[in-house]
């Protein structure tokens, strides 16, 4: 039961994008369409699960003073694998759109954050589930953002025309649109939480994994 919880927490309760506010750079940059979001999500999930497992294996041997460089090396290995795999098998167009954001997964806060906060303290199986769950949460959040942005800007989803004759509305394809849609999502999430807390007679506090508790940049 508790093992399953490690997997599901990343999807909604501790969603890396919408709750933990990690990985904002790829979130804002790559969510121009649902397809780009899905590609980016899968790549990040693979890196996250793989690096979590390896870091969990070697966590006992890493001196704590140099742990961050060690994590980066492990993560970089997986990112290199993903980059080569995508270069070989992913559609060329998708590969071109994602471009620099694939190598940049190395410094993605989600990957480094889960390595530091979870994989370095837990077993390999739990770490893998955590990585998969967080990756899935990232993918879903990115696809929701990408879907909304793609629909609002062109009336399509996964390049399939949903509303014929939708006028071009470029704002949501531009960076400004990314900020507007993400802010709207976060506002709705916070509104729901505050309302829920009000109903229960408590006040809303962010989950344990917010920036103030994470000691990576101490």
């Amino acid at each position: 039961m508790s093992v399953l919880k490690e997997f599901t927490k990343g999807i909604w309760k501790e969603n890396p994008v919408l709750v933990l506010m990690l990985g904002m750079c790829p979130t804002l940059a790559v969510s121009t369409s649902a397809k780009n979001a899905l590609g980016m999500g899968i790549a990040t999930t693979f890196v996250l699960a793989g690096s979590n497992v390896v870091i969990s294996w070697v966590r006992k041997f890493i001196p704590s003073n140099v742990r961050i460089p060690c994590y980066i090396v492990v993560i970089a290995v997986f990112v290199t694998i993903v980059e080569m795999l995508m270069g070989a098998y992913a559609p060329a167009e998708l590969n071109k759109t994602l471009g620099i954001y694939i190598p940049l997964i190395v410094v993605n806060c989600i990957v480094l954050g889960r390595a530091e906060a979870f994989a370095s303290k837990n077993g390999a199986f739990a770490s893998m589930l955590d990585g998969l769950g967080m990756g899935l949460g990232f993918t879903l959040a990115l696809m929701a953002l990408g879907g909304v942005r793609e629909f609002l800007s062109a009336g399509t989803l996964f390049e399939y025309v949903v509303v014929p004759g939708w006028p071009d509305f470029l704002l949501f394809k531009l960076p400004a649109g990314a900020f507007i849609v993400l802010a709207t999502f976060l506002a709705i999430m916070n509104y729901r939480r505050i309302r829920k807390a009000e109903r229960e007679g408590t006040s809303y506090t962010p989950p344990e994994m917010d920036c103030s508790r994470c000691h990576i940049c101490k």
């Binding site: 006028p167 071009d168 509305f169 470029l170 704002l171 949501f172 531009l174 400004a176 507007i180």
Partner: protein, 337 residues
């Protein structure tokens, strides 16, 4: 004769005890907003005269949707519905005046939603917004629908008998001068017999409205004068250095959104600096940015960008131009500042 001294006590029923300020001019937000609407009326008539009756439709749709969206958002935010103060109507009218007469109506509604929702209500309503809502709406639409926002009709005199003037597309004077071609003559520019957004073309009507607001002390004269003056000065110097149509200061001052922006958008009380010194800095900044965008930028027009950029700097300007409280020594006030 007995002299009896009586101490006269003041009639307490006639004394009013209140805290300061003791004197005010009975102004209110609705009063100011409806005066601004009245000041815009000449420009609205001019736009109907030159562009046809569809101009009125675009303006009305913008005003109604701005008010409706503000009412809706107030309800969602569980606040008092604030459309009675008229500020949403002013935002709607100004937004409509910056759109081309051919804009589709859905664009007016979306622009109103962005102006009121993202430009004003998310910051907590009137008084909390750092940016001029109408400029926010216009810039968002310009980014979103660049082709619809730059489709101009050709204007030729009275169009009161038409729904919309002939659908032949023409260039605005600023687009002409950006390509280094001579713009229209002085009287066309001054009266508004030129292509452009609905409310920006008739310089005469905008100046009449602006002077009316300055006379009523609703806006500061410093902002329009220094704004327009800076644009005139910089383009004038450029014209003296190389006299080609691109730098003609008369075309630059009389065309585009300069009059509308300088008199009605840059002077927005919420988003412009609090005192005179700040207003001058603000207006000169607006003028410089506008001229830079017009002469060297990729857009032919830059008023709304200039206003938004200077809106962002307004808190900083206010901070550095804050007045010295009466009675405070010069050194001490600087130390505390």
């Amino acid at each position: 004769m007995s002299e009896q001294t009586t101490i006269r006590m003041p009639d307490t029923s006639k004394l009013v005890v209140s805290s300061s300020p003791h004197y005010h001019d009975m102004g209110s937000i609705p009063k100011i907003m409806f005066t601004v609407l009245a000041a815009l009326a000449p420009a609205v008539f001019a736009s109907i005269y030159f562009f046809g009756w569809r101009a009125l439709l675009v303006l009305s749709v913008c005003m109604v949707s701005c008010a409706a969206i503000e009412a809706l958002l107030c309800r969602l935010m569980r606040r008092r519905i604030s459309i009675g103060d008229g500020s949403a109507l002013v935002t709607g009218l100004l937004l409509g005046m910056t759109l081309p007469v051919t804009s589709p109506l859905w664009m007016c509604i979306v622009g109103s939603f962005i102006a009121i929702g993202l430009g004003k209500m998310v910051y907590g309503g009137l008084g909390g917004n750092p940016f001029n809502p109408a400029s926010v709406g216009r810039v968002a639409l310009l980014l979103a629908c660049p082709s619809a926002m730059t489709t101009w009709v050709t204007v030729s005199g009275c169009a009161l008998n038409k729904w919309v003037v002939d659908a032949t597309t023409g260039a605005t004077p600023l687009e002409l001068v950006a390509q280094n071609q001579p713009g229209p003559g002085f009287w066309s520019l001054f009266l508004g017999n030129i292509g452009g957004s609905i409310g920006e073309t008739c310089t005469l009507a905008l100046i009449v409205g602006g002077v009316f607001l300055i006379a009523l002390k609703i806006i500061r004269w410093q902002i329009p004068v220094f704004f327009i003056g800076t644009v005139f000065l910089i383009t004038g110097i450029a014209y003296m250095v190389s006299p080609c149509p691109k730098f003609n200061p008369m075309t630059h001052v009389l065309s585009g959104g300069l009059m509308l922006g300088a008199f009605f958008m840059a002077t927005d009380m919420v988003t412009s600096p609090l005192n005179r010194k700040g207003a001058v800095v603000f207006a000169i900044g607006c003028g410089i940015i506008t001229t830079i965008i017009r002469l060297w930028g990729s857009y032919p027009e830059g008023i709304s960008y200039a206003i938004l950029i200077m809106n962002a700097l307004t808190p900083l300007i206010d901070r550095y131009t804050a007045g010295r409280p009466f009675g405070v020594a010069r050194k001490a006030s600087q130390k505390n500042a």
